[in-house]
C-alpha cells in the first residue's frame, strides 16, 4: 500500500512540475468541443440533442492523446526497469500509475465538462447524470488505455498504434455513457431521471469492474515482456 501511494504521489508531483501535462488534455477537450457549434450551426435544439455524444467523443479523444504519457517516458529513461525490480507487486504499481493518470487527465475533464455542457444548452439534470457517467466511465478509459500503452512500448511507432488498439475497446464505454444521458434527457417526469439512467450507469460500472480486473493482469504481462 505504501508503494502504491508512493508511485501515485511521485507521478502527481511530476505532472504538477511540468504543468502542461496537466493542461493539455483539458485544453484539447475544451477547444475541440467548441469546434462543433461552428461546424454544425448554432441551433440550440440540435446542439442540446447531440451534446452528450460530442462531450463523450471529445473526452475519449483527449484521454487517448495522453495515453502514451503513462509509461513511455518511464520506459525511455530506465525508470520502468527500476519500478519492476523495486515493486512487491507489478499489478499494484500499474494500478497506481493508472490512478495518477486519471487524476491528471480524467478528473480535469470531469471538472471542465459542465462548462461545455452549459455551452451546449444541456439542462441541469442531464448535467448531473453526465457527471456521474463520467465519474464511472473515465477511469475505465484510463485503465483500458493503459493496456495499449504498455503493449506498444518499444514498438516502431507506438503512438500511431494506440488509437487503433484502443478506440474499438472504448466503444462500449461511449455507448453507455451517452446512453445514460440520453435516457435522462428523454424522461418526462423529473423523478424518473435517475431510474431511466440507472441501467446504463450500472453497465458503466460493470465495464469499470471488468477493466479493473483485466488491466493489472494484462498490463503486468505486457510490461514484463516489454523489458526483455
Amino acid at each position: 500500500m505504501n508503494g502504491f501511494l508512493n508511485i501515485v504521489s511521485k507521478d502527481l508531483r511530476l505532472a504538477l512540475r511540468q504543468r502542461s501535462d496537466l493542461t493539455m488534455a483539458v485544453l484539447f477537450f475544451i477547444l475541440t468541443a467548441m469546434l462543433f457549434p461552428f461546424g454544425l450551426g448554432p441551433e440550440p435544439n440540435l446542439l442540446a440533442r447531440i451534446a452528450p455524444g460530442i462531450i463523450w467523443v471529445t473526452a475519449l479523444l483527449s484521454v487517448l492523446l495522453s495515453l502514451e504519457r503513462i509509461f513511455l517516458a518511464d520506459y525511455e529513461d530506465g525508470s520502468l526497469e527500476q519500478l519492476v525490480l523495486s515493486c512487491a507487486s507489478l499489478e499494484i504499481a500499474i494500478l497506481a500509475k493508472v490512478l495518477a493518470h486519471w487524476l491528471t487527465t480524467g478528473l480535469p475533464l470531469i471538472m471542465a465538462a459542465p462548462l461545455i455542457a452549459l455551452l451546449f444548452n444541456m439542462d441541469t439534470e442531464a448535467i448531473t447524470i453526465l457527471l456521474i457517467a463520467m465519474l464511472l466511465g473515465t477511469p475505465s478509459l484510463s485503465l483500458i488505455g493503459a493496456i495499449a500503452g504498455t503493449l506498444t512500448l518499444g514498438a516502431r511507432r507506438g503512438g500511431v498504434l494506440i488509437p487503433l488498439l484502443v478506440l474499438p475497446l472504448y466503444i462500449p464505454t461511449l455507448i453507455f455513457g451517452v446512453g445514460a444521458i440520453d435516457a435522462a434527457m428523454n424522461s418526462l417526469e423529473a423523478g424518473a431521471v435517475i431510474a431511466n439512467a440507472r441501467p446504463h450507469l450500472l453497465l458503466l460500472g460493470a465495464i469499470l469492474l471488468v477493466s479493473l480486473l483485466i488491466t493489472p493482469l494484462a498490463g503486468a504481462a505486457a510490461l514484463k515482456q516489454a523489458l526483455e
Partner: protein, 243 residues
Amino acid sequence: MSVFHRFANPNRFLKLTNTVLPWVSGITVVSLVAGLYMAFFTSPPDYQQGESVRIMYIHVPSAWMAMFIYTSIAIASVCSLIWRHPLADLAAKASAPIGAGFTFLALATGSLWGKPMWGAWWVWDARLTSVLILFFLYLGHMALMNAFEEQERGNRAAAILAIVGFVNIPIIKFSVDWWNTLHQPASVMRADGPSIDPSMLWPLLIMGLAFKFFYLAVLLIKIKSELIEAKLRKYRRAMVDSA
C-alpha cells in the same frame, strides 16, 4: 502438454502437414461445390425474403468464421503465453489475416443483404457494431504483431491483446438477445436445436464446413511458409556470421 510436444519439432510438423494437406484441400473443394450447388439449385427461396436469402449461405458461414478464428487466436495466445510454444505464435500470426478477411466478408455480405431487406447499407445496431469492432481488433492485432523489430515481442504483445479483445466475442454472439436489434436472432446455434427448415439448414452447414476446411488449408500452408522463412533467416544469419 504431451500432444503439444509431439509436434514440437518443426520437421515432424512439416511432415504431418504434407500428409494432411491434400485431404483438407479435397474436403474443401468437394464441400464447396456441393454447398454451392445446394445453395443455388436445391434450396427454396424464403417466403419472406425471396431469393435474397441465398446471401445467407455465405454471410452466415463468414460470420461464424470471423468469430471462430478470433477464438482460435485467443486460445493460441493463451498457449503461447503459458507454454511459450512457437507453434501457437505461428498459428496466431497466420490466422489473423484470414480472420480479418472473413470478418470483412461478413460485414460486406451483411451490408449487401441489408440494403434490400432493411433499406440501408448500414445501421448502427449492436450486432453490426460489435462485428465492426471485431474487424478493428483484427487490424490492431496484425499491426501490433508487425510493429516490433523483434518478432517475439510482437507475438507476445499481440497475444495479450487477443486475450483482452476476446470479451468482444460473447458480445457479438449474444448482442441479438441482450438488445433488441434489426438483426435476426440465432436460429442454428441455439441451446434448443436449430429452428430453420432442413432444406436451408443443410446447404448452410455444408458451406460452413467448406469455409472451416478452407481456413485449415490456408492456415497449414501459411505455417509451412513461415517455417521455411525461419530456416531462411537462420541460414542468412549463419552466412553473415561466418563471413
